[in-house]
């Protein structure tokens, strides 16, 4: 089984230096892209590879790049932004990719910037990823010194500045337009769409935003071709995927596996199954903003379309496992507390609705719940759903709540009836 993204990473978690990376074939793809390929050929290759955005939305990367207006008829400057603001609870894949092989990520970023003809790229990294930021700073310097970043890269007329921007917090920065508001120095508030960022992004200029894991795939696609990339996968989406599992499993961690690997296999074979004395009750497959799948629903290929069909979302594919000795109401209360805290406050339903739900869930969890509270919770899964809020934060928060009310109804009712949490 091929593991292009992680095969050269060191076991001791130290990063690959630029020499290590070049010895492993690094920056050959950049050379090929800049010296042998046109921009449209790169876009086509990435599109043919069926690389879908790894930040959670799954948008085809090649299509996004191709939608950016470039060429002489569009003289405006363009920006490329790498989203390294990994904050989805339960998700830790980008940390590993950045810390373990920062040059692989940079190479993807440079190729992407070339593909959309951007002269300036930003890496938007979260405050808490200090080690990753430090390793990126070193990598940027090294790449500069070798002529992979800066003026006239590899003797071509393409020049690129790369800026590392350390964010000051807030989950809403994961929303692309909010991230741009933040990069412009203001509050990270989402913007109305259309226009999409590809047309009017940072400072009103065409801007492409891609997740870290999306970008690390790019050098491999350019080097080995779209057909090879599709061959890595067990389904229609191309490539491998960094799957993660956390919770009460024997061996929590991250694994690079073919896209479409069976979810049960990931948990049982790779994460080692449940710790002794615990049973798997449900999973949240793709980060905090995805619906629960119950134990009998996890025998599915883990890919964008199948997880969607199963009633949840692929998201970041970093799975949170709920065991049979943890209170599901407590889990949902924790998740909603997170979303209430992280609401940017721009639109009223999200700003007011989520804290209300937080209070109600806290009451139920601590034995102060009333029967009618369940109806209030239920009604909000509609009131805060897509179309009623300005962005996708509150609807994302409703996904675990909605599915919890369906699958764990008895647990909610028991909390209310007994006036206490049976797990405490």
């Amino acid at each position: 089984m091929e593991r292009p993204l992680t095969q050269h990473m060191r076991k001791d978690r130290e990063p690959l230096s630029i020499d290590d990376y070049e010895r492993a074939g690094g920056y050959q793809a950049l050379r090929r892209a800049l010296q042998e390929m046109s921009r449209s050929e790169i876009n086509q290759e990435v599109l043919d590879a069926n690389l879908r955005g790894r930040g959670g939305a799954g948008f085809p990367t090649g299509a996004k790049w191709a939608s950016v207006p470039t060429g002489d008829h569009w003289p405006s400057e363009r920006f490329f932004v790498a989203d390294a603001d990994e904050m989805e609870p339960g998700t830790f894949k980008d940390r590993m990719l950045l810390e373990g092989n920062p040059h692989q990520f940079l190479e993807g970023l440079i190729i992407g910037s070339y593909a959309v003809d951007a002269a300036k790229a930003f890496i938007f990294i979260r405050w808490e990823y200090k080690l990753a930021a430090q390793r990126l700073r070193t990598a940027i310097q090294e790449a500069h010194a070798r002529g992979y970043i800066g003026e006239r890269i590899l003797g071509t007329d393409f020049s690129l500045d790369v800026h590392l921007h350390v964010s000051a917090g807030r989950y809403i920065c994961g929303e692309a337009s909010a991230l741009l508001s933040s990069l412009e120095g203001g509050r990270a508030v989402p913007r109305a769409k259309p226009p999409r960022e590809a047309e009017s992004g940072l400072w009103g200029k065409p801007t492409v935003l891609d997740n870290v894991e999306t970008l690390v795939n790019v050098p491999h696609i350019i080097k080995n071709g779209a057909a090879w990339f599709k061959g890595l996968s067990l389904c229609n989406d191309g490539g491998t995927k960094i799957y993660g599992v956390s919770g009460r499993v024997k061996n929590p961690g991250l694994w690079e596996l073919p896209m479409g690997t069976n979810l049960r296999e990931i948990i049982e074979d790779h994460a080692g199954g449940m710790r002794d004395g615990f049973k798997l009750r449900a999973v949240i497959p793709g980060g905090a903003s995805t619906e629960f799948l119950m134990a009998d629903e996890i025998d599915i290929p883990m890919d964008f379309d199948t997880v969607q069909k199963a009633g949840s979302r692929f998201g970041t594919a970093n799975v949170i496992v709920l065991d049979d000795r943890t209170c599901p109401v407590g889990v949902v209360a924790n998740l909603i507390r997170f979303f209430a805290q992280e609401s940017c406050g721009w639109c009223t339903p999200c700003r007011e609705g989520l804290p209300w739900l937080r209070e109600i869930l806290d009451d139920i969890e601590h034995g102060r719940g009333r029967e009618e509270d369940l109806d209030i919770l239920q009604s909000h899964t509609r009131l805060l759903w897509l179309g009623h809020t300005f962005c996708a934060l509150a609807p994302g928060a409703m996904e675990p709540l909605k599915s919890a009310l369906k699958h764990f109804r008895d647990d909610f009712e028991r909390h209310v009836k007994d006036g206490r949490c049976p797990w405490r």
Partner: protein, 173 residues
């Protein structure tokens, strides 16, 4: 500098709001301004520079930085109060970030937090009397395979149990 203030009857009055930055801070912010596409874009960077030098952002420093960027103090403040890691109150010498996201919550966040509170004698958001520690909640630290986790200054501490806390704290004077 002078800031116009509009009163109820439409007359303008002036209120002086001044502040000064140290030479070093001012130089660093000016350097960032040169890199910025627009001065506004350096807003968060300026706040971070101030905080790195002083530990937090005071009114005086905020007003002075606003002046340097050509923003109003209110614009500067709207950004400063939005982000978790910009402190508008004095903090202790070390910042403890306690991950309270879902996997850490499963695996013992409440016990870790209780131990920290007991040991330090402060609630979340508090600063110890000796100004040694400020303890703040933080969203997922991205260390879910090694939960529960906390971060002190630049260091991540993982796979915690309450009895490891004393030793860890002893490393920060």
């Amino acid at each position: 500098m002078l800031w116009p203030m509009w009163t109820d009857n439409g007359n303008t009055i002036s209120m002086q709001r001044t502040g000064t930055l140290t030479k070093e801070v001012e130089q660093e912010i000016r350097a960032e301004l040169e890199n910025a596409t627009q001065p506004r874009g350096a807003c968060l960077v300026a706040l971070k520079v101030i905080q790195r030098h002083h530990g937090w952002v005071s009114d005086d420093h905020l007003c002075a930085a606003a002046d340097l960027l050509g923003l109003t103090p209110e614009e500067m403040e709207s950004s400063a109060t939005f982000y978790n890691h910009i402190h508008r109150k004095a903090t202790g010498r070390h910042i403890i970030l306690v991950c309270e996201s879902v996997t850490c919550w499963f695996l013992g966040h409440e016990e870790i937090r209780a131990r920290l509170q007991e040991k330090l004698g402060i609630e979340m958001g508090g600063t110890t009397a000796d100004q040694r520690f400020t303890m703040l909640p933080v969203q997922c630290l991205g260390a879910c395979d090694r939960a529960p986790a906390i971060m002190i200054d630049d260091d991540l501490h993982c796979d915690l149990t309450p009895d490891k806390i004393d030793n860890i704290l002893a490393g920060y004077l």
